[in-house]
């Protein structure tokens, strides 16, 4: 589904991504973990066109997407949620998701048709999936933090991506909220047959739901495997020294 080959990216003298090659298979729910500054978000930005790699390439569904602008990569079927809150704050919850549906359906070019009732049932369905069905008319910026994260996932889902990239979907959440979001992701991926890749800081989330885990450190992927294999890996243990795996 998605493959990278020898990705490199440096900022000034700092090598943020160092020769990263990996592959995500169709239907797989996998994750990338790593300490702060490992390069996880930078890697996502390279995959989605927000940054251009210095070398290497990204192939999605057999097509080289290296260097394409983000909106084109999005239209090819990669959805993304962001680590920091990234919604449309003054629009209602409904409008946030409806915009994504309209965009996917190519309806943004309609300039004289009323938008109010367009894509209504699908928007509501997505909002129910992310458990925001009762808050549709609330301005998104006024939602509680956990709900904003749900909305972000909702926006990404409304694009019906073939591949969903989730950047720390549970960052800054309480343990209960974290469990809720993790359950939501696992459910959605299973029901909709999505391929999902997420980066996480929270070990419990990653080990609970990922089929495959990759560990990043200082811009490199240093280990790949199942939860058991990662737990047993010496180098991973050394990096996460002191943390319970």
């Amino acid at each position: 589904m998605l493959a990278t080959q020898g990705l490199m990216k440096s900022f000034g003298g700092l090598i943020a991504i160092d020769n990263v090659t990996f592959e995500v298979e169709r239907g797989e729910l996998s994750s990338i973990i790593g300490p702060n500054g490992a390069g996880k978000t930078t890697l996502f930005n390279l995959l989605t066109g927000h940054l251009q790699p210095d070398a290497g390439n990204v192939v999605f569904k057999g097509k080289d997407i290296t260097g394409l602008p983000p909106y084109r990569i999005c239209r090819l079927g990669i959805g993304r949620s962001f680590q920091h809150m990234n919604i449309f704050p003054r629009l209602s919850v409904f409008d946030n998701v409806q915009a994504a549906v309209l965009s996917r359906e190519g309806k943004f070019t309609k300039i004289f048709a009323p938008a109010k009732d367009m894509a209504r049932s699908e928007t509501i369905e997505v909002l129910k999936t992310v458990e925001l069905g009762t808050k549709m008319l609330v301005p998104a910026g006024l939602l509680a933090y956990g709900d904003q994260k749900r909305l972000e996932i909702g926006i990404a889902l409304a694009l019906r991506p073939a591949l969903l990239l989730l950047d720390e979907p549970t960052a800054g959440m309480s343990p209960e909220e974290t469990a809720g979001i993790a359950g939501l992701i696992a459910r959605v991926v299973q029901y909709q047959g999505l391929t999902a890749l997420f980066v996480e800081h929270d070990m419990s989330v990653v080990f609970g739901i990922s089929q495959k885990i990759r560990v990043m450190h200082l811009g490199r992927i240093i280990a790949t495997g199942t939860a058991e294999e990662i737990r047993a890996d010496d180098e991973v243990q050394r990096i996460y020294l002191g943390e319970e795996l």
């Binding site: 449309f88 915009a99 965009s103 943004f108 004289f112």
Partner: protein
């Protein structure tokens, strides 16, 4: 075949679909505007014309400022392109009035596509300064291209069809043009296209990652505002029968921007209300003091500090708070 009910339920009529419960307000406003020339003195009809022209310009600009979140400092340039295109065509090329009238907004759209192509490559303050620079460039061209524009002398005695010569007749013509413009803008701001503009305003980075080609939509919005600014320019040209370089100057831009700010940029009726209050304030204040700009300065300060939503914003927010 089933026996379908043929009576149209009032709630599904096209007018209701278009305006919702607001249709009654819209209809009352149109009725008042249509009756006003009968009720007021002729000198006031000319003031009403000025209001309509500024309302068209400000409503067009607001598609960019309010709905797309791009602050332009250069609406006057495009406004002048509309007015001067019409004036030059009527005086120098002797084309029919209707053709020249439509040529104004078309020329302004064309120019805004060129200017916009450069401007949308920058954001925020750099975008604003680029629009200002291009607008001043247009001002300079108008000022210096003596052969075409008459430079400082402007273009005077622009021929207007006899039927539009009386101020009352011109008012109804301008009113029809204004209502037509507002109707088109209303359709636009309720369309999926405007949803794209709104997500760009709220969060351009995220907009791009729901698949919006941000620059393309910004450029289209820029061209649409150019069309309506040019249209207002044409209306001005037909109204005053002469055009002078100051209409392209940055001071004119300030008038249009303040009309948006005064009325409220986040409401459709904001720019219209703003244009009305601004022109009336101008006529009223200059009646008893020469320090009009002092009053204007205080008004702007008050707006920015205490009424960020403008007049329409303030009233409509109060009303909706009362309802809930």
């Amino acid at each position: 075949m089933t026996n379908q009910q043929t009576t149209i339920h009032p709630l599904s009529s096209p007018i209701y679909k278009l305006f919702g419960r607001r249709w009654l307000w819209a209809a009352s406003a149109v009725a008042i505007l249509a009756l006003l020339p009968i009720l007021v003195d002729t000198s006031w009809v000319s003031v009403l014309c000025e209001i309509l022209i500024l309302a068209v310009a400000a409503s067009g600009l607001n598609l960019l400022i309010g709905y797309t979140g791009m602050i332009s400092f250069g609406p006057a340039g495009l406004y002048a392109v509309g007015a001067y295109s019409m004036a030059v065509l009527l005086v120098q090329a002797d084309v029919p009035f209707g053709v020249a009238f439509i040529a104004g907004p078309i020329a302004a759209t064309f120019v805004s596509l060129i200017i916009g192509w450069f401007c949308v490559r920058r954001t925020a303050v750099y975008f604003a300064l680029l629009t200002l620079a291009f607008s001043q460039l247009i001002h300079t061209i108008i000022f210096k291209w003596y052969k075409l524009t008459g430079g400082d002398d402007g273009i005077v005695e622009i021929p207007v069809p006899e039927v539009l010569f009386s101020i009352e007749h011109y008012y109804y013509f301008a009113l029809a043009c204004t209502l037509g413009s507002l109707l088109i803008l209303w359709l636009i701001v309720n369309s999926p296209f405007d949803k794209a503009l709104q997500v760009i305003r709220e969060n351009p980075g995220r907009a791009e990652f729901i698949g919006v080609n941000v620059r393309k939509y910004q450029l289209i919005a820029f061209a649409i505002q150019g069309f309506f600014l040019g249209f207002a320019g044409s209306l001005l040209c037909g109204f005053s029968h002469n055009v002078f370089p100051p209409i392209a100057n940055w001071t004119e831009s300030i008038h249009i921007i303040i009309a948006c700010l005064l009325g409220g940029m986040l409401h459709f009726v904001g720019p219209f209300v703003g244009a009305m209050v601004y022109i009336l304030l101008d006529k009223f204040v200059t009646g008893f003091t020469e320090y009009w700009s002092l009053v204007l300065g205080i008004v702007v300060i008050m707006l920015v500090l205490f009424f960020r939503g403008g007049i329409a914003g303030f009233i409509l927010d109060k009303l909706s708070a009362q309802r809930s």
